[in-house]
């Protein structure tokens, strides 16, 4: 007992000793002692030497109150020589901050004068890092929890190895220059300006909102994105949007590393209010903005007179090709526009521009807020694209026109398929292909499928060519002899008159049988839908439902859709009249509108 007590007491004493001793010496003290010793060597006169000799290490700090929130920067406790010209080029931490005309420093009478005096600005306003930290791990922001590690100089341990290297470099400091300096200033921020340009060139503004710059509403607001995220997250989100947000439908833009870097710098600079602005200036800027709100800037100032030529400039400037294919350019996200004039009429293009989701309800295309004349010019330009593509045999037709969505192997996984909703049909599913009348497929090819991304190709292909493509699909992908579709007894038109009672009955059946996949809202997003490919049909897709006749919908309900998860409900006791009620219910979404 007493031995144990004595041991425990000794442990207590030892820990006390360790803790007490640990407070007697600090890194910053040693750095300051080193500085004092070296400065004494460099001193030119005795007075200076005596002054240095009398100095003892002590905690140095700059309390900067003028820019942004008050900051306490104790960086100078270690970097004590930061404003001592004799230490330019010295090894860190005793290196003097470089002087540079780029930073606004001036050289007069053999002496540099700083533009940004450290006593006024502190350190972290430009460099980030943790001003209150006194040990380099925390001060430099290497702690994974610190939101602002030294910008461009420190990568935190959990940062993705892939992006670590390109995230280093003083170029990133531009993001903080932009905290005070607007782009109109004479300050040179090449990467930042490029990033801002890319933000528009790559059509980021179509989906993302940034105060004073853009009004996109599809993606997250990026006004303060630099405050919220570190460099690695920004980089990763640009390169691989789904890395951080698995449900993101942001396309993978094919950006070069230097473009990503510029965009990261631009995004990092979005950190909320400008500390150099007064509240009055801020208010005026906001008040002035409301007039021009939402107008995307036109990058080329002098537009040609000719509307078609003007439309061409606009389409190019707005980087439609960042998503769409247009001639040689291919954004790899959205359908081919190269011969849009052959496939769509002016009215469709014009309507679709203004509200894409009115015609294709699940389209990811943003509703850009261009002006009416701009819309008209762009519509005219697209309508003018009437040069048919060079087409050869059926295989080449498939490759040129179909493979972009349906995939080279016909399995519906073409390069842009990921971004299309409803997804392109998987043409390898023999069950589906055999269950439908070939004439229907030819019709779909020539007339398109309303409410989906499938365009009508009749402006490009003739009846025979469509038939040839279908034959090609059959021989290359389906690889089964065509079976004659079974004769099914399906009423040609809805046997039940659409009345309130019928709709109510239909709704009841729908809730019982259909919601698991099609969802309570009938938008195809029921709880089971995530496990089902192809996805359940969005039954609120007006253009599709309106364009599809009763017979086809009734057949899908009663006999199922082979090759998909839709079962033949006639086997589960649904009568033709029940199907009629369901159909009335589904169609009621559209009439109600």
């Amino acid at each position: 007992m007493k031995i144990a007590l004595a041991i425990a007491s000794s442990i207590v004493l030892i820990i006390h000793g360790i803790v007490f001793y640990s407070q007697s010496s600090h890194g910053w003290m040693q750095h300051q002692e080193a500085y004092i010793a070296e400065a004494q060597n460099k001193a030119t006169n005795d007075a200076e030497r005596n002054e240095l000799a009398s100095r003892r290490p002590r905690l140095e700090q700059i309390i900067a109150t003028q820019f942004g929130e008050p900051r306490v920067d104790r960086c100078v406790s270690c970097h004590v020589a930061v404003d001592d010209p004799r230490f330019v080029g010295h090894a860190q931490p005793l290196r003097a901050h470089p002087y540079s005309k780029e930073l606004g420093d001036s050289y007069e009478n053999g002496r540099w004068e700083r533009r940004h005096k450290f006593t006024d600005f502190g350190c972290t306003v430009c460099h980030d890092g943790q001003g209150r930290g006194l040990d380099s791990f925390y001060a430099h922001g290497e702690d994974r929890y610190w939101p602002e590690p030294l910008i461009g100089y420190v990568a935190q341990a959990e940062w993705n190895e892939k992006y670590r290297q390109p995230l280093r470099g003083k170029d990133y400091m531009e993001a903080n220059c932009a905290q005070c300096h607007a782009s109109g200033d004479s300050v040179s921020m090449p990467h930042l300006e490029r990033g801002r340009r890319l933000f528009f060139e790559k059509n980021c503004y179509g989906c993302h909102r940034i105060d004073d710059l853009s009004e996109g509403a599809l993606g997250p607001d990026l006004s303060e994105v630099g405050k919220k995220w570190k460099l690695d997250y920004l980089w990763e989100s640009l390169v691989d949007p789904r890395a951080n947000t698995p449900v993101s439908f942001m396309p993978k833009f094919n950006l070069r590393d230097d473009e990503v870097k510029s965009l990261v710098i631009f995004l990092k600079s979005r950190r909320g209010t400008n500390p150099a602005q007064t509240s009055l200036q801020r208010y005026r800027a906001r008040a002035g903005r409301s007039a021009a709100a939402g107008q995307a800037p036109v990058l080329q100032a002098d537009l040609p007179e000719d509307p078609v030529a003007r439309g061409e400039v606009l389409v190019r400037d707005r980087a439609c090709a960042a998503c769409h294919k247009l001639g040689n350019q291919d954004g790899g996200i959205a359908p081919d526009l190269s011969f849009e004039g052959l496939m769509k009429d002016t009215q469709w293009i014009s309507d679709h521009f203004r509200d894409p989701r009115r015609l294709v309800p699940d389209s990811i295309m943003p509703s850009f807020r261009f002006s009416e004349p701009e819309f008209d010019a762009m519509t005219l330009y697209l309508t003018s694209l009437r040069t048919p593509p060079a087409l050869g045999d059926s295989a080449e037709i498939y490759r040129t026109l179909c493979a972009r969505c349906h995939g080279a192997n016909g399995d519906g996984t073409g390069p842009v398929a990921l971004y299309l909703d409803p997804a392109p049909r998987d043409l390898t599913k023999a069950g589906f292909m055999n269950s439908k009348d070939p004439a229907r497929f030819v019709r779909s090819i020539l007339d398109g499928v309303p409410g989906t991304a499938m365009p009508g190709w009749k402006g490009v292909l003739g009846q025979e060519q469509a038939q040839a493509v279908l034959d090609y699909v059959w021989s290359s992908f389906v690889r089964e002899p065509r079976r004659d579709a079974k004769k099914r007894s399906v009423p040609e038109t809805n046997p039940v008159v659409s009345t309130a009672e019928s709709i109510a009955r239909g709704k009841q059946i729908f809730v019982q049988r259909c919601t698991g996949c099609h969802g309570l809202k009938a938008d195809g997003k029921g709880p089971n839908s995530i496990d089902i490919l192809p996805r359940p049909r969005n039954l609120r897709n007006g253009p599709f439902i309106n364009a599809t006749d009763d017979r086809r919908l009734l057949e899908s309900i009663l006999y199922g859709v082979q090759g998909t998860a839709m079962p033949p409900w006639i086997d589960y006791g649904l009568t033709a009249n029940d199907a009629g009620d369901l159909l009335n219910f589904i169609r009621s979404f559209q009439t109600r509108r």
Partner: protein, 406 residues
Amino acid sequence: MERLIQLPRLVWDSIFRHPLPETDLGRATTSFNNFFLHLHPVKVHRNTLRPAYTLGLGLISLFLFIMLVVSGVLLMFYYVPSTAQAYDRMLDLRGTVAFGTFLRNMHRWAAHGMVALVFFHMCRVFFTGAYKAPREFNWVIGVGLFLLTLLASFTGYLLPWDQLAFWAITVGTSIAGYAPVVGQDVRFLLLGDHAVGQEALLRFYVLHVVVLPVVITLLVTIHFWRIRKDGGLSRPEEPEPTATTLPVGTRYGLMGFVRGPLTKSGNVPDNAVFSWPNLLIAELFVFVLTVAGVLAVSLLFNAPLEEPVNVMHPPNPAKAPWYFLGLQEMVSYSAFWGGVGIPTLEVLLLLLIPYLDRRTEGVGRWFAKERLLANSLFLLFSVINIILIAIGTFFRGPNWTFVTPW
């Protein structure tokens, strides 16, 4: 002159009225006449001193509480309960303030330790059947102390004003909001606002540094006082002593029991030993061990400090403090039952245990055979809660999905 020489001696004697006791009488008088020692009985039962019986859990809890008060008061010198400054003060504690990190570590780990130790103490009391008559009410006070400990730890959780704190309190108080009828009002009262913010920080600060410690001190005092009034610590029943009954009609002063031969003819004459030095040494030992443990942990592990609060950006998953993660786990199945129904039932059951379970067999022994059912039920209750907490702590990842920690 001679008086002057005697002065130190006089001052000393005025403070310590007795020399180190050599005799039993001296030992008893020391206990009586010393403010700190008179909380102790003059004599304690041998069973009280058996480490294997109590494991010292209650004492450790007390000492942790004292350490928390001391380190907490010191931390108050640098803390500012303001949303603008609280986090910066944490950084200063870590960066500039001498011993700041260490004191914060001590406070943090002692707080977590106290939550755990109070719970273990409760388990000990249950498994030894020590809550039975006449100690029913002391058990109730103990349950109250346990809840207050949780509350004290919970209110302290917010004070660093980092992401961990902010979202843990947001989640924790939201759980409270599930209570029927009064839930939202309680939450509003606690937060002083509809969301965690400056008002909540100030309220939690006041609760944490004044209200709860005072209440806990008061209840701890009553808890200890009642131990004596309830006849010391629980112990196994002993054969009826062949005691000489005291002459009826004679009044005895308190000292009378100690001075005379009657000490030896009391209720349990042969099993009682003097508190001085036996109990005191044992207490000192537990104290030193507790201090050593907390110091060692504080030296080795730093208290977490996460990002500064970002109201717009909850971490995924946002977790309550670990001792509420069992609740959060249950809330993920059913908001009402997990957050309010089951916890309320649990607390009610805990409070009523001594009044429901009135059999007196098996008191004073660990896992007495006679109490197999009760002990099994309580063990099940504890294990389920511990498992739920473990699941919530280690096995829940982003979006509250199951993850494996390894």
